[in-house]
């Protein structure tokens, strides 16, 4: 029995799905480079995915949080849009400050989170309905705040908007032999901070671990002494807060308040979360998967656009690819559950590498990553046994 404890642990569903997601992104990016090398082989293109889509990535993180807790939040796009418009109107008013706009953004996000979280967690109303109502509310308030596009002129804001951090050691050499370093915007910095903070929260905080338990089986979690309602409540507050931050990131990306801002982002965020390995059923997911899911979605769109396919066909192709990824995930999870344990044969050269055998988890992740590659190489998913 003792020797059994030394055995390797089967990889958890959350981690397996994350590795699948990472593999999919890798493959999609390779495909993108293959199809359109002039753009995708430049590191700046990769950073621009962050620079231009910071809001979506942040929303995907928030969405993953509530989905891990077994819920859903449809209002994130609406709240994000409302925040951009409110901040734009505020920044155009006399005596506005950047700090004030940040406070406004966070306050709007938290207000929605608290309201929806209270109704869902304490009054036990369906999260879908509540957040759908929240979406309508946010959209309505947005049109009341303003309907015409606003270009923000506030000097402090414009300075932030135009700030670019240069990565001196990474870049490309242009036709004239000049080195052009990669640049990242403020919104990208926000994204990175958010991802790290949320990932730490979900992995090492009591709240994060309780949320997984609640999403897995809320009845059991309650019997185990977890404050189920409080945990759910905070997950919505956190998601609301992230919607506020996403609104800030959005306006820092476009510099304008516009009635169409972030519309439809809730669905994109859900798609990103799911591709990133978060299950709608709750309890399974890895926060690091959400940016990966978002990037996969964006890479697909950018590639299709770069190749120059009709925009109607673009959405069709994205739809099919999405579907394919989800099926791939399910097939892998199914094969693993069917086999009892997830056994993968590693090539001998990999076994001899001591680098990956330090921890059981590491070894397993290598196994799964390896398996992933096999699946992708085979095109339609290999047999794991």
């Amino acid at each position: 029995m003792h020797s059994l404890k030394q055995n390797r642990v089967p990889i958890s569903n959350s981690n397996l799905l994350f590795i699948i997601a990472a593999g999919i992104l890798l493959v999609m990016y390779m495909v993108a480079i293959g199809l359109y090398p002039a753009s995708f082989s430049q590191p700046q293109t990769f950073f621009d995915l962050f620079n231009n889509n910071a809001a979506l990535i942040i929303l995907a993180c928030g969405m993953s949080i509530v989905m891990i807790g077994g819920g859903i939040d449809i209002s994130v796009g609406g709240v994000c849009g409302l925040v951009t418009m409110s901040c734009a109107v505020y920044l155009q008013s006399a005596g506005a400050s950047v700090a004030g706009s940040i406070a406004l953004a966070l306050a709007i996000g938290i207000a929605f989170g608290v309201l929806q979280g209270f109704l869902i967690a304490y009054l036990q109303i369906q999260p879908f309905i509540i957040t759908l109502a929240g979406m309508f509310l946010a959209n309505g308030v947005m049109t009341m705040v303003n309907t015409t596009p606003i270009n923000v002129q506030h000097p402090g804001f414009v300075a932030l908007f135009e700030t670019r951090f240069r990565i001196e050691w990474l870049g490309t050499i242009n036709r004239h032999g000049m080195f052009i370093p990669c640049k990242i915007s403020i919104s990208t910095v926000i994204v990175i901070c958010v991802i790290i903070a949320v990932a730490v929260l979900m992995k090492w905080s009591k709240f994060g671990r309780n949320l997984y338990a609640v999403g897995g089986n809320s009845q059991s979690a309650m019997m185990l002494g977890v404050g189920v309602r409080r945990t759910k409540f905070f997950s919505y507050v956190l998601c609301g807060l992230l919607s506020g931050i996403a609104g800030l990131a959005f306006i820092l990306t476009t510099g304008a308040g516009n009635i169409g801002n972030a519309s439809g982002f809730e669905m994109k965020a859900i798609a990103a979360s799911i591709i990133g390995g978060t299950l709608l059923t709750g309890g399974v997911g890895n926060i690091l998967g959400s940016p990966i899911g978002a990037l996969t979605l964006l890479t697909i769109n950018e590639t299709i656009r770069a190749v120059g396919i009709d925009s109607n066909i673009q959405t069709i192709i994205s739809g099919f690819l999405l579907c394919f990824f989800i099926v791939l995930q399910s097939v892998i999870i199914w094969l693993r559950d069917k086999g009892g344990g997830f056994r993968i044969i590693r090539p001998p050269w990999l076994k001899s590498m001591s680098l990956f055998t330090g921890g059981a988890d590491g070894a397993n992740q290598m196994d799964a990553a390896n398996q992933m590659e096999n699946n992708n190489n085979n095109g339609k998913g290999g047999n794991p046994s």
């Binding site: 009591k206 997984y212 059991s220 019997m223 185990l224």
Partner: protein, 503 residues
């Protein structure tokens, strides 16, 4: 400490609107003993447990743990006071790790120290000999191991009293052994264990003492080794089994003469059962027996076309019919009560009434619904006739006990007035009183002219109920027993000889 009193409950009474669930019950648990709590459904076992763990508030009486009077208000409070409970349905979270399941909901610290937690979990698992790894996802452990982890959690919370509520109901034989080993180990450490179960054999295997409740009253406390099984059963039921034999004698004669209700030749299905011949006469009760995997369930599923029928001819009341779908079987007068009532039988969230009328509604067609009054009348009739214990016909079926759920499903099929009723394991997982009631009901129905095929994994039950027993082995029929041959010995011999007889 070995003979110290761990728990004393004195004069406990508890009533619900209209029901006196516990009436002046005493219960004493000593440290270092396994104490079985037995009784039929409705005897008050679970009420007593719930009073102890603070789910219910008692109306009268006194509870003391380790000599100190306590009054728990919630299971959490009881746990903090040293009373740990492991429920029948495992109340852990499947998607998080073993270590997290051991410690979740207990830490004050807002951050999780994975290293410390895994190490402590390892020590706990090791000391109890539980074959699990702290970092493993709980769902990758077997049910038995999950149960043990739930026990480990309770033990780590310094429980001096451990309540195991039907812990073995979803475990296989090997897993039960492991659980019993753990129970014996805990016993040696001075933990007092309350063991609630329906399985009488298991009670004798691990228990030191037995307390029997009946109808909310204490029948007595006995030392297990001095209590014969038969006497225990009669104490639980408060009646004996004689009357069932009388009913049975009445129907033996009929078996040889009645008309054929159902006749099959060379019936086979894609579930892998070999072509077999089978018939049943009006008013006959017969049964299929055999070891697990012998094909007894598959055979009757073929009769009802619950699996895809691949060959054979079927005559119903002498008329040749093609039965390839359950609905056709139903319409030609066959009712089928499936083996796994949770998966195939009940619709948990629907009311008792809706569950009862379901089969009849299907036969009538969904676009011609019954009026409320009609449905209500049907439901009331059968709730009365089968003595179903439910608050009202509107109660969701999931809140009923297992035995009563089974009766509801039985009512569902009786309502369709079948000529031929197939009951696959109708008595599994329900208390002995309801078991006997169902057996009696089967015989009564047969005496009224219904044909019944009755299957149970307890051969004793089938021998008592059936007038003809079809013995199966390796997915084929190896013999038929009737009359004086209906003994456990004959069944064993037939199974043992099975293959050569067929060849």
């Amino acid at each position: 400490m070995q003979d110290g009193i761990a728990l004393e409950m004195k004069g406990i009474s508890k009533s619900f609107p209209g029901v006196l669930a516990l009436n002046n019950v005493d219960f004493t648990l000593r440290a270092g003993e396994v104490h079985a709590l037995m009784g039929e459904n409705g005897a008050g076992k679970s009420t007593l447990i719930k009073v102890l763990t603070g789910v219910y508030e008692k109306d009268a009486g006194q509870v003391s743990v380790g000599g100190k009077t306590v009054n728990f208000k919630s299971p959490q409070e009881a746990q903090a006071g040293g009373v740990g409970t492991v429920y029948q349905e495992i109340t852990l979270c499947p998607n998080i790790t073993v270590a997290e399941n051991l410690f979740i909901g207990r830490a004050r610290d807002p951050f999780v120290k994975w290293g410390d937690m895994n190490k402590r979990a390892h020590d706990i698992l090791d000391s109890l000999g539980i074959p699990a790894v702290p970092r493993q996802q709980l769902s990758s452990c077997s049910l038995a191991v999950q149960q043990m982890i739930a026990i480990a959690r309770a033990m780590d919370m310094e429980s001096s009293i451990l309540i195991l509520d039907e812990p073995t109901s979803s475990l296989d034989e090997g897993e039960v052994r492991k659980l019993f080993a753990l129970m014996n180990d805990l016993k040696g450490r001075g933990v007092g264990i309350i063991f609630v179960t329906h399985f009488i054999d298991q009670v004798y295997e691990v228990s030191d003492r037995i307390t029997v409740l009946r109808g909310g009253e204490l029948v007595g406390e006995y030392v297990a080794s001095e209590m014969p099984q038969l006497e225990l059963v009669s104490k639980m039921m408060g009646k004996d089994l004689d009357d069932i034999d009388k009913i049975k004698d009445m129907q033996v004669a009929r078996e040889e003469t009645g008309e054929y209700i159902y006749e099959a030749r060379g019936l086979s299905s894609d579930a892998g059962v070999r072509p077999f011949d089978f018939h049943i006469r009006k008013g006959e009760v017969n049964g299929f027996t055999g070891l697990l995997g012998s094909g007894r369930s598959e055979s009757i599923r073929a009769i009802f076309a619950a699996d895809r029928v691949t060959g054979g001819t079927v005559k119903i009341k002498g008329k040749k019919l093609r039965i390839d779908k359950p609905i056709k079987a139903m319409k030609s007068g066959i009712g089928y009560l499936p083996e796994d009532r949770k998966a195939d039988g009940i619709i948990a969230d629907l009311s008792v009434r809706d569950n009862i009328i379901l089969a009849l509604q299907v036969m009538k067609g969904f676009f011609r619904p019954f009026s409320n009054a009609e449905a209500q009348a049907f439901a009331e009739e059968y709730i009365g006739a089968l003595n179903i214990k439910t608050a009202s016909s509107n109660t969701p079926i999931k809140s009923l006990s297992g035995g009563n759920q089974q009766k509801v499903i039985l009512a569902r099929w009786l309502l369709t007035h079948p000529d031929y009723l197939i009951l696959d394991e109708p008595t599994r997982g329900i208390d002995i009183g309801t078991k006997v009631e169902i057996q009696k009901l089967v015989l009564k129905l047969a005496s009224e002219g219904m044909s019944v095929t009755f299957i149970s994994s307890e051969v004793e039950e089938m021998l008592r109920t059936c007038s003809r027993l079809i013995v199966m082995k390796d997915r084929r029929i190896v013999g038929e027993l009737r009359g004086d041959e209906l003994t456990q010995n004959h069944v064993m011999q037939t199974i043992a000889k099975g293959v050569s007889a067929d060849a």
